[in-house]
Symmetry: C3
Subunit: 680 residues, 3 copies
Amino acid sequence: MFKPTQFLHGGDYNPDQWLDQPSVIDQDFKAFENAHLNTVTLGVFAWDRLEPAEGQYNFDWLDEMFDRAAAQKMNVILATPSGARPRWLAEKYPEVLRVGANGLRNRFGERHNHCYTSPVYREKVRQINQKLAERYGYRKNLIMWHVSNEYGGACYCDLCQAAFRQWLRAKYQTLDRLNHAYWGAFWSHEYTDWSQVEAPMTQGDQNVTGLNLDWRRFVTDQTINFFDAEVAPLRAVNPAIPVTTNFMGGNPPESHVFYDLDYQKFAQHVDVVSWDSYPNWGNDYESTAELALKTSLMNDTMRSLKHQNYLIMENTPSMVNWHPVNHAKRPGMHVMASLQEVAHGADSVMYFQLHQSRGASEMFHSAVISNRGGSHTRTFQDVTRVGQILQRLKGLQTTQHQAAKVAIVFDYDNMWALDDARAYANATKCYWATIQAHYRYFWEHDIAVELVSVHDDLTPYTLVIDPMHFLMAPAFATKLKTYVQNGGHLVGTYVSGVVDQNFLAYQGAGMADLITTYGLKVTETDTLYPSQRNAVNVFNRQYQVQDYCDLVTLTTAKTLGTYGKDFYAGTPAVTENELGTGRAYYLACRTDADFLQSFYHRLVQKLQLQAKLPIKKSTKNVAIQVRESTTQRVYFVINYSHEPTQVTLTTPLNNALDGQTVRGMQTLSGYGVLIYSEAK
Amino acid sequence: MFKPTQFLHGGDYNPDQWLDQPSVIDQDFKAFENAHLNTVTLGVFAWDRLEPAEGQYNFDWLDEMFDRAAAQKMNVILATPSGARPRWLAEKYPEVLRVGANGLRNRFGERHNHCYTSPVYREKVRQINQKLAERYGYRKNLIMWHVSNEYGGACYCDLCQAAFRQWLRAKYQTLDRLNHAYWGAFWSHEYTDWSQVEAPMTQGDQNVTGLNLDWRRFVTDQTINFFDAEVAPLRAVNPAIPVTTNFMGGNPPESHVFYDLDYQKFAQHVDVVSWDSYPNWGNDYESTAELALKTSLMNDTMRSLKHQNYLIMENTPSMVNWHPVNHAKRPGMHVMASLQEVAHGADSVMYFQLHQSRGASEMFHSAVISNRGGSHTRTFQDVTRVGQILQRLKGLQTTQHQAAKVAIVFDYDNMWALDDARAYANATKCYWATIQAHYRYFWEHDIAVELVSVHDDLTPYTLVIDPMHFLMAPAFATKLKTYVQNGGHLVGTYVSGVVDQNFLAYQGAGMADLITTYGLKVTETDTLYPSQRNAVNVFNRQYQVQDYCDLVTLTTAKTLGTYGKDFYAGTPAVTENELGTGRAYYLACRTDADFLQSFYHRLVQKLQLQAKLPIKKSTKNVAIQVRESTTQRVYFVINYSHEPTQVTLTTPLNNALDGQTVRGMQTLSGYGVLIYSEAK
Amino acid sequence: MFKPTQFLHGGDYNPDQWLDQPSVIDQDFKAFENAHLNTVTLGVFAWDRLEPAEGQYNFDWLDEMFDRAAAQKMNVILATPSGARPRWLAEKYPEVLRVGANGLRNRFGERHNHCYTSPVYREKVRQINQKLAERYGYRKNLIMWHVSNEYGGACYCDLCQAAFRQWLRAKYQTLDRLNHAYWGAFWSHEYTDWSQVEAPMTQGDQNVTGLNLDWRRFVTDQTINFFDAEVAPLRAVNPAIPVTTNFMGGNPPESHVFYDLDYQKFAQHVDVVSWDSYPNWGNDYESTAELALKTSLMNDTMRSLKHQNYLIMENTPSMVNWHPVNHAKRPGMHVMASLQEVAHGADSVMYFQLHQSRGASEMFHSAVISNRGGSHTRTFQDVTRVGQILQRLKGLQTTQHQAAKVAIVFDYDNMWALDDARAYANATKCYWATIQAHYRYFWEHDIAVELVSVHDDLTPYTLVIDPMHFLMAPAFATKLKTYVQNGGHLVGTYVSGVVDQNFLAYQGAGMADLITTYGLKVTETDTLYPSQRNAVNVFNRQYQVQDYCDLVTLTTAKTLGTYGKDFYAGTPAVTENELGTGRAYYLACRTDADFLQSFYHRLVQKLQLQAKLPIKKSTKNVAIQVRESTTQRVYFVINYSHEPTQVTLTTPLNNALDGQTVRGMQTLSGYGVLIYSEAK
Ligand SMILES: [Zn+2]
Ligand SMILES: [Zn+2]
Ligand SMILES: [Zn+2]
């Protein structure tokens, strides 16, 4: 675990693009100081400057950057350069170029598109990483390795296909078991030899859902395998330097978790989770508070990967250059957005990028130092303001985000399987949006939430929410049952427990443990057309229902609410099951937000899960997060609106920015942030 | 012609997926009995279970299924397995894999994608078919061959291209004639050698409309040629077993006739037409009655292919898994939908599938026996109800759908040519929707309609409707003229008689016989933008006009209605021409539905084409179809609405389900069906 | 420069499609006479009729056409046939077939898709062109060469890639300079050998914006190089025959200038500009006047390429066959549309096509002589009417469009770069629409406008408008400064001067000369979401602002208007800078049309740029263009509406169609045209 001595403030810096203009680099370092930056990430994509020809290394410029950073007490995060290879490498060893799902090998170009299996690429990466480790592994100001950059995508080359076959052999042992898992007799698709196995390719087979799922799992495993190979020479030299790689997620318009790699697995291989956060603040289709909710969930997701604080490795000082609309942050937004992440457990605010490139595809991505205006910009002032705040918060990086009593289950296999299932309605599956919908009440009421994987321990939580758990292994059903029997409270929904871990349908009434847990059997799932509505009668009123309605038969559960319409009107739509000392609720249909509001409100009251805060807010646009250590609590109060508002302190608190004790009503400017601390 | 001894009730069954679980198969056969199923279709896609390695056959399991079926008096329909090949076949003989229009050969995977020309594939299919014929051809309960499955698509491999060239040589004899037909001098595209001819390919030429049309014709002919080759060994063993293959069509959202193969040709090669019917009952964009109209037309289309009763080979017990929204049938809908098809001349209600697969791409397609719930489901009850009804109707399978006096011309060449014509507006051509529009009045008034091809005899019909006959051979113009001269009544429309069978434009005023028939010359076709409207003044009121307006000059016709707007206001828009003892009407523009209602109402009155039914209905949501034999008439009265309604019997009739005589007002429940018979 | 002795009226004629039907050709020539056609374009796409086998030529038919044309005093424009090659050529020399951006070589088919680099293709083209030149170069009625047809597209074959590398070497000399221009250190993309350079390809690199831009420039240069090679044998035989090739542009729905080739460069290689004009008159999404405005701009663009009169080489007598909706011209529209082009400086009205083809992809494109109706059509009458008018205007072809005092800068490099910039919002960049928006006031007020390139002399203009000049070389900034200093009036806008000619960002405040010119520095560009609005307060009212807002700091400029909203409310949005004896206005944001109306109204008053016309109109639907010679002025008054209207002559004028002197109020019918002349 990475324990920073201060909040990190800095970001990606590519002096390798300015080596012929030393005065630019001089000015840059001066500007870093002015902006209160304390960290530079060096070497991302710098391979051709480090090894301009095979085996010919040039570290002079990087040595100098370490020295310059050290001279002004800046940390260095050093990247391995594997995210983009030099031309000589691709030219001499074409196998390092990725092959697409259509079987065609890439030409040189772009980035993030090497073959993860190629022994040549692995060896070349090992060599350069080893050189970097040997030369810089004991540099005083080296605080972390930034391994490669934004891993993603897949390769379909022969080497990768062979690795996939090996992976399958290790998993299934026999072809019979593979054929059974993929239900091979369907359409005469049984394998009679391992050599027949192929990834799901454009001209081949993309309809074997079990194969599709295994391929996705393999891609994660092979990526991790490559990552581990990258890390080996680094750790061999100095195991004390923590290792990370920058994860992704939360992009517009859905603020969706990253899709292609199972980060819950991957996170177990990094020392600290770091990620690149690019919400489109100020967009025209949702309120700032709405986007803040989704971004809070993304931050909670990242923190939950290791259930530890994490780092923001990249965010933008103002706008990016790849959103459909690249909109500048309004005054105050950058502080708001930066502190939001700190509030949720980030120990850094890092930027892509410190100095804008003059050409090529990212030249318009905003940076601390811009082409237009250099450091004499509004953006530079915003960055400086964040630097000042983080400096004043020094010490608080030792606090952790407060432990949550509420958990939402999120599972990659389930997401991939549900989306790939030829069933329901593709346009309305919306697994992540469903998690966002369940998250809403807690965020609006400042109640901490953790996202748990199916491998996590559920016992720390008073309430576990497990929405749309379509692909569920029997072991997890048992875990849920045990959790409830032992006093836990569980909320499940429609479209759960349908297929097993091999994407094979459960037969009959489904998993016994799930039936026991919820006290009901699902007899049908009714998929509604987008404009069709049902209703649920519950809590003395009626709420709207859309998209999905499970029809259920109760075994031990009791009915809380019933359907209002259609041929299953009057049958149970919301149920409660007492089991052992706990309770399991089943929301059989997709309700509107009002229902979830009412439902969770009752549950929170009942379970006494309310946030215990010494601060009263008057609008849902304000959200409060708590970080704490054994000795103190820190409250981050953020106004996700351009309208000023007030909060009221119910006990005197310490203003963390100036050390003053404050009490009573406090004004929050538009996009304003207040930070209070209190001794425990 | 196939003469069943009862209505068939059953469907696709794949015990080959459950051979390692005999108890499942035991339960299945028990359930078949409970559901009143009398037929199983075996062997679809079972090639790898029948011939797990080249030349090694395994028929034990299939023998057993024949025995099991026989033991409970169930018929068997036996499929040839060519719809999907085993991996060993593709591995050893890659030529069996289809090549796409981009020239790339498929890898192994999916289904329905073999090369239709490959001598190897044909030989391998011949071998397995012969084995099946020899082993099962004289089985007592074998009632039919189900050849392959849902033929479709095209192959662009060298073998297919060579076959195409042969096909063209046979058709055109000389390159000069080919060059003339394709208007080869345009863009210097003349062939100087037969070897230069190529199918329309992605990287090649897709703008020679004559070539495109011939390629479509060839694809049909080559598919039929493959089918004939499949059938040869079957018929050689026992010519008494009828042969079919399952056709397609009627899918959402347009309920369009199947596009890729000319079924009017193909039907001449099967002993009985069978098809797979998958309307999306309960959708949110049209009423149940609206979808029923389109589905009735699809059934009439299938019956009309051979002008005989036909079979439903597949439909779904509840939902499919490949619609954009997979919506369960509401209570009553399954009986309604099944009886609709019987009413239109189907002698079977067959399902895909009897037992749901546990994995792979169709695992969520509903089945008689489901993964979830097995046979203890609402769906199973719905199926059972249909089984009971069909059992009570036993004997009525000898009736044929009543002969129609109204025919609509439908032609595949015309559809393909019109859609491929670089003319008019692609978004508003809508040939099939136009046929649906003309069909409406007759369906709503329970008047039987037959869809005729250009090769059919027109003399049985009092009224022939020939909409948008863009590509028309002179021979058909002559046929129309003769038909009218001899007393027939003809309705034609805008955009007719534009090109000949080679896709060459008619010159000058067009075909003399067509001018004589309609008594007018078309001088222009005005294509309107989607939001533009004209009007027609006729029958003392004004109706809306959109999309297409022919401007015409009358020779012998007289004007019934005139245009209301634009520069051709006042010119003829609806005309009538007396010719011999018949009349030909020309609807020069695309009118709204109200006009067609008024127009056909007058025509039906005049020609006394009203349905003569002893049943009065009070809503257009109810439709009545008549089947009859020499001794009796059977009325199928179906309510295509969830609202109950009444019908009134004007003479006492026999309730076909319970044998009671009933009279006067009768209640039809929502989606309800009443079946009455009456001696002639 | 081409000096016709009359307005040309005629078009593409392909008797090569009718050689087996001489009577058709007889009728055609008779019809040409009836329609007052005086010119035929022969030989377009006729290669396989001219050279049916390699080295075997057949010119008999073409000889005859020259004779027939001569016999009725018709001019011939003779095409070189390179736009489509014969099959034998592609078969024997596959290198002539183009390779796509995906690296796949075309099969034979379509047209306009040869490799521009292939030495074989160049040699074959040279041979046929030389033959044509030798045989017809001194024919009396040959008035022009029509080289190839509608050049466009790109080839990515190895030959073209090698040519691209040569082009780059010539431009950059050293790899260091190339690497700097492409900012190669970004993502380790530096070249270490020229052989590594590749065009932007699908599987390769499409994110190096400098490379993308250079590739576009190369494609233009290589196309011109091919054109020059085509022309060489023609000019060698008879340099007196002018040479052109038909340009494109103005297609629906945007009426956009042609995108793929830099016509400003290309035009310097032709003797006279000619183009193919296909507006979709009568569409349902804009008024006729709106489309007329855009089409006027297109004509002005074409005239401006060489600042000379030009030719309409193709337009359609009624409808095309490739618009989404192929709508017939309403009565009067064809005269209106034809005279509009003459009014703007066209010395011809030429058609695609004189006789419709009977088959293939363009058989439904309307023609003077149609398949349906031959020459007995409304269209033929419309063409004849244009023929009569042009005949009556004989002599006026010596007039030139009046010289403009207003210029709008348009630059291809800028358009390509702006669209390719990963910045702002792709959906709202709209460079051409912005030019259309600035053009509006002048068109509506009958003030002539010239479109100038960055290489043009600005001194002839009183007012220069330079919108969204994103990519601007320092030399042009200097040109602007000099222009203003010397008394010019300049209007610039947001998003200008951002990158240099290599697509590298300007640093700091940008180009000194631009700052001096406008008297301000741009500090930020705010990109708004599509539904977001700002406002500008100016001229005592408020106007709406959308899409883009530059935030500026003034140096010497003064504020005319300020922003109405958002965090930069009150800062300058419209400014004026006095420099030397001129003034430069900066419109920092994208305003609504009302603002531009007010702004240009004031400017036109101030600069006395009003049209001085002896004709008063009462609606913006009427537009007036002036052509003039040293002795007379001709006024083209056109009503772009179906509603009749009036104009009032303020002095007596000569009706150019009948020679009568007219005065006072004159009626303009719907789509009517009045042409007056007046001695100077
Ligand atoms: Zn690979
Ligand atoms: Zn083939
Ligand atoms: Zn080329």
